[in-house]
């Protein structure tokens, strides 16, 4: 027998919100009614002198009988004043006024980021004991600060991942610039939250070693490869659904969708090491990222650098390095010619692999001759000591200017812009050029400054972007699990892994070297049917959703108005599925 009361703080108190402060509410459970007799009326809504609203919750079964009807509850801080909502620790005095008396106690207020239940003894008072649960109440901000809340949600989703209230509220009221700084500094990390699978450091068996194995041993290795590929996917899905450094989670996949490889054709150990490399380098600087990527065994194998040798160049890597990784297609970017592809592939000759899939430079396969790239000469004969001309060539690529603009800067800024904001609007072009100029100039290719500039852009908030971005298949699943704080157990991750495969978005397995094209290509008649089916499969019931978030699902899940449920968001009976199956959930 429990009666829960949800206390909402009034608008005035909410108005005192400052950065880092969260709204407070107490869910107070009155248990074990002490005195006998009295009224059996359920509590009503009341306003106390401080304007505090008491909303009885509706879903808790039979109402208990009370010796007295509570007429008001007031909170005071130690100094006797009205509680400040940004007070996150300390002691608060709570006064219960009820028919015929007053009970008061001092409640130590728990830190806001944790949910905590505590019993407070009202011995001597006539209503017995009270259990108070403190937790951030999202209701206040969604209702009273809809614009600020929506802005915070957009800022986070633009460059990060959807979040639940705990995280969202930290950003409410911030400027874009403040939010960008916080996200780049505190939501990025070179290391993941969960440790990598322990086999990340293991060597890959060479072909000779495989041949020397018995049939059973070879079979075991094949199974191990399959098994580890799945493990990579589950591990990464876990980071995406639970990781606290969600800007890193988003951006490491962004970069892998440019510097693509595929787990389907790469040993899982190599793939995971490459992922680790990308995760570390994507918070560094672009030159180092490009140079390390060009020597990454996964990349060397995927784009055939190990086949690119003196006298018989294989131009696969050189072509994609310019067309897809740095400049954009030649007739658009005007940054390179077919001849530059030949010259560039010669620079990377000798980049190779040991039989165990580790990187090695093979001087005997390197073309030491003179190369002319973009009209600039790389002198003959002096590239052996430094492991080839690749790094010098990458420097020339980074320095390449077309019409006075950095070709790499403009191309990659545009790529990140599209990742964050969807289509490039005509008004965005000048901003993209501006950021590209900063990044390639004063920022010296620093990546965090680059992300910050894009995330903080004053062009970001354009109203035309709202609801104009298609959610990828992965976005759908993450966009359900993260904001609802679903406990993503292994069975759920397995389902998602399977669904992503059917939708052709298996993690780290892009359709080709250009990565997923994104945007409107996520949507087809086929995909809307399959998305409908899979979303309905994973969203059955409401039990997985964190209890206190249930009334907020519409706000947490949608960014544009619902097409199916225009009614009140306070209706907690609406299940997560209601909002997930809404067409509005397909965009953001």
């Amino acid at each position: 027998m429990a009666m829960k009361l949800l206390f909402e703080l009034d608008g005035q108190s909410k108005g005192t919100l400052t950065n880092g402060a969260l709204a407070l509410a107490a869910v107070t459970t009155v248990t074990g009614c002490g005195a006998q007799g009295g009224s059996s009326e359920a509590p009503q809504q009341h306003q106390d002198s401080g304007g505090m609203e008491v909303i009885p919750r509706r879903d808790d079964g039979p109402r208990p009988s009370f010796p007295n009807t509570i007429t008001s509850i007031s909170f005071e801080n130690d100094a006797g004043g009205v509680i400040e909502v940004n007070q996150v620790t300390g002691t608060t005095r709570v006064v219960f006024n009820f028919d015929g008396g007053t009970a008061a106690t001092s409640l130590p207020v728990p830190p806001i980021s944790t949910r905590e239940e505590r019993s407070y003894d009202f011995s001597g008072a006539r209503i017995g004991s009270v259990v108070a649960t403190f937790h951030p109440t999202p209701l206040n901000l969604f209702e009273t600060h809809p614009e600020e809340t929506l802005a915070a949600k957009r800022m986070i989703w633009d460059i990060g991942l959807p979040v639940a209230t705990d995280d969202l509220y930290e950003f409410v009221g911030m400027s874009r610039s403040e939010a960008a700084t916080l996200m780049v500094n505190q939501r990025m990390s070179p290391e993941p939250d969960a440790p990598y699978p322990s086999w990340i450091t293991q060597a890959v068996p060479s072909n000779d070693e495989l041949r020397a194995m018995s049939g059973a041993e070879r079979k075991a290795r094949e199974l191990q490869v399959e098994n580890r590929r799945s493990q990579v996917s589950y591990w990464l899905l876990d980071q995406l659904t639970n990781g606290t450094h969600y800007v890193s989670e988003r951006l490491v996949l962004f970069w892998h969708n440019i510097f693509t490889t595929s787990i389907s054709s790469t040993p899982p150990e190599v793939m995971l090491r490459q992922h680790q490399l990308y995760r570390r380098l994507c918070v560094g600087a672009l030159p180092e990222f490009l140079k390390s990527m060009s020597r990454d065994p996964g990349m060397v194998s995927y784009l055939d650098s190990d086949e690119n040798v003196k006298g018989a160049p294989n131009e696969n890597f050189a072509r994609e390095l310019m067309e897809l990784f740095t400049f954009g297609e030649s007739s658009t970017s005007q940054a390179y010619t077919e001849q530059d592809i030949i010259e560039l592939s010669r620079c990377f000759t000798g980049y190779s692999l040991t039989p165990n899939y580790d990187y090695i430079f093979r001087p005997d396969l390197h073309d030491v001759g003179e190369k002319v790239l973009f009209g600039k000469t790389l002198a003959a004969g002096n590239s052996l000591d430094v492991g080839g001309d690749g790094d010098l060539a990458i420097n020339l690529i980074l320095d390449r200017k077309v019409n006075g603009k950095s070709a790499v800067g403009v191309y990659l800024t545009k790529r990140l812009w599209q990742e964050c904001y969807g289509d490039v609007l005509p008004e965005d072009e000048a901003e993209i050029d501006h950021i590209a100029a900063l990044w390639s100039g004063p920022y010296a290719w620093d990546l965090k400054k680059f992300y910050q500039a894009v995330a903080a852009s004053s062009r970001a908030g354009d109203a035309r972007r709202l609801g104009a971005r298609f959610r990828s298949h992965l976005d759908l699943f993450i966009g359900y699990i993260r904001p609802c704080q679903i406990d993503a157990d292994f069975a759920l991750l397995q389902d998602i892994h399977k669904f992503l495969a059917k939708l052709e978005q298996s993690l780290l397995e892009p359709p080709d070297v250009a990565g997923w094209p994104g945007g409107s290509t996520w949507i087809s008649t086929k995909s809307v049917l399959m998305r409908n089916q899979f979303l309905s499969n994973i969203s059955g019931g409401n039990g997985r959703v964190r209890e206190d978030l249930k009334p907020l699902l519409k706000y947490l899940l949608l960014t544009v108005p619902s097409l199916t449920q225009p009614g009140s968001f306070l209706d907690a009976s609406r299940q997560a599925r209601t909002w997930i199956m809404d067409p509005a959930f397909q965009v953001r």
């Binding site: 104009a468 080709d512 008649t525 544009v560 397909q586 965009v587």
Partner: protein, 438 residues
Amino acid sequence: MTAMTRRDFVKFFSTIALAGDIPLDTLAIQQEVLNGSRRVILIELNGGNDGLNTLVPYTDPYYIEARKKSLQLIQNHTSSYRRVIPFSEWSAAAQSNHFKPAGFGVHAHLDSLSACWRQGELAMIQGLGFTSQNRSHFKGISDWNRGMPITSSMDNRADLTTGWLTRLWRAQGPSTESDIHAVHLGRVAVTPVYGPCEGLRSLGLNSPEDMTDHPYPLYRPSSEALITNPAALRAVLSEMQNAHAVKAGIVDAAQNAPTMGGSYPESSFGNQCRSTARLIAGGLACPFYKLSLSGFDTHKGQVTIHGNLLRDLADGIAALRLSLRDAGAWDNTLIMTYSEFGRRLHENGSRGTDHGLAAVHFMAGGAIKGGFYGQAPSLREEDLDGRGDIRPGIDARRYFATAAAFLGFTSASRERALGVETGSPSQDLTPIDCLKVA
């Protein structure tokens, strides 16, 4: 009669391909098309198919020199490996010498197409491409889907935002008699059917069962919702509406499909072929199907990889042919292949080939006049382009115009969609003379 020499072969093709327009714009054909009884099955060879390892000039000294490492590998390791079947052997005894050019053969793994070839139902169209073709996978395939290459000097009059087939439908109007106008199995996003077109219903499927397995009803948008919402949401709603509109036709066809002949390869491509045959045999009124077979980007170790792909391709088409013959649909079906580019004559250091330009493609069907079209490419260095690639002989727009004519698009529609709207009003759009029907 003696077999033709290589020189004769080249000369012969230079005359055969340039016959005049076929009078296809007849009322009867219009009616057939309206009934949805003609269809094109377009097969994408994703990655860039090596035409020279498909229709093989196996005695050409330039070819032998350029591919010597691969050829050596075959000789050394797999003496029993049948690499090429000469046309003299592949063609029926009764077929004319046109079908038996000396020094040419097909890749041995295409052998399951021999019945189709002997029946005179397989056309090999050589040297297809665009004059300013791009060697990028992505730009290459988008040029083919758009039906025109984009050059940096191109002015803004050209329509860049639609596929060539969509433009044809915009010119002539998609038939209201069709259940659906385009079904995609395999890669959905890569297609000549994209861009806005009133009344056009297009769908991607893994299998017809996609349409029946529905645990939660799909939202049914109101006509108002299709106007008032943001553009991205409208696109979602329009696909949902599309799904409702085509569902019945697909489900009926899959249920009605009779048992058919044809043994399909156990592969993604084989499944696509099987699903296509079921929909056609089950009576779906649909003029266009698109299938895809991936893996043709053979930068290394081409011998094995490419052979397996061609076997998959040939076995799939052969099975489709048998099924569609059983269903009485073969004569109204045109199967055609395409790919973003061909591959370079000279192999690279990895016994693979890098991105090239023009290549041979297949048209097959009961309405096809089998044989060779276009010129066998000259492999002499001075005839290749600067990078050593085969120059296009037939503009790909003529290839599309052939399919368009088969589907009953009028010459006026073809000129608009493939000529004027590609910024080339004077482009030769004469259909290739490989269709029996007139």
